[in-house]
């Protein structure tokens, strides 16, 4: 799960021509998703499946929030490239459900 998220985010950052260290950003993104998922863990139900589902939901929520934030900052060309990529990757989020 974490490798897939890494690859996907890496491609997004490449498309938007992110200038700083991509690995650092991705690490921070994943850390935020893990910590937010931990906040919702019910201590009585600490199965591995529940953790993975919570983490996947947080990845999706945060990714959508992140894309909404950066879309206005993109040039028309970059925005088109990004939206085309997201459309072709729609099945990615289907796998998370």
């Amino acid at each position: 799960m974490h490798n897939t998220v890494y690859d996907f985010l890496h491609q997004v950052l490449t498309i938007i021509e992110y200038r700083d260290d991509k690995e650092t950003f991705i690490g921070q993104f994943i850390a935020v998703c893990v910590m937010e998922a931990n906040e919702q863990i019910n201590l009585k139900d600490s199965s591995k499946d529940t953790h993975e589902i919570l983490f996947a939901k947080k990845v999706q929520q945060n990714f959508e929030d992140y894309i909404e934030t950066i879309l206005p900052t993109l040039t028309p060309t970059t925005k088109t490239k990004l939206l085309d990529f997201l459309e072709s990757s729609e099945s990615y989020f289907g796998l998370l459900q």
């Binding site: 950052l13 938007i16 021509e17 992110y18 200038r19 700083d20 950003f25 921070q28 993104f29 850390a31 935020v32 910590m35 931990n38 906040e39 945060n62 929030d65 992140y66 934030t69 950066i70 900052t73 993109l74 040039t75 060309t77 970059t78």
Partner: protein
């Protein structure tokens, strides 16, 4: 806009700054919780460690209400800071948090007989606040 101007333009740099700003705000919430946990627990631990000296000073008929007041205040402030997180938790966790914080000052009475009790309560106090901070909004 020419292709070169578009490439060097505000768009890409804006995306980098916006990305860093977005993840920075997300991370700040968790580092803030860590700072409050550490700060609150330092005050509670000060309360735990200072109180015995205050009690000993009182029994020596020295006007030493100040160390006791400072110790109780430290414990109360530490507990209040942790409560900012605990109040959002479920009833079980809230009860556990309140119970540990209420017992903490009384554990010092036992400290003179069993010194380890002070350290045990300090440890429980820290853990309860760290758990409570998960719920901080």
């Amino acid at each position: 806009m020419s292709a070169h101007a578009e490439h060097e333009g505000h768009g890409e740099h804006g995306a980098t700054a916006a990305s860093n700003d977005w993840v920075g705000k997300k991370l700040a919430r968790f580092t803030g919780s860590a700072a409050l946990t550490i700060g609150g627990e330092l005050m509670t631990t000060y309360g735990l460690l200072a109180m015995p000296a205050g009690i000993a000073a009182l029994t020596a008929a020295t006007p030493a209400y100040l160390p006791i007041a400072a110790a109780l205040t430290g414990s109360a402030i530490g507990a209040a800071i942790g409560w900012q997180g605990a109040k959002h938790a479920g009833i079980g966790e809230k009860s556990m948090y309140a119970g540990i914080k209420l017992l903490t000052p009384f554990s010092l009475l036992a400290k003179s007989m069993a010194p380890v009790s002070g350290y045990v309560m300090s440890g429980l106090s820290f853990i309860s606040t760290a758990l409570a901070m998960r719920h901080r909004k």
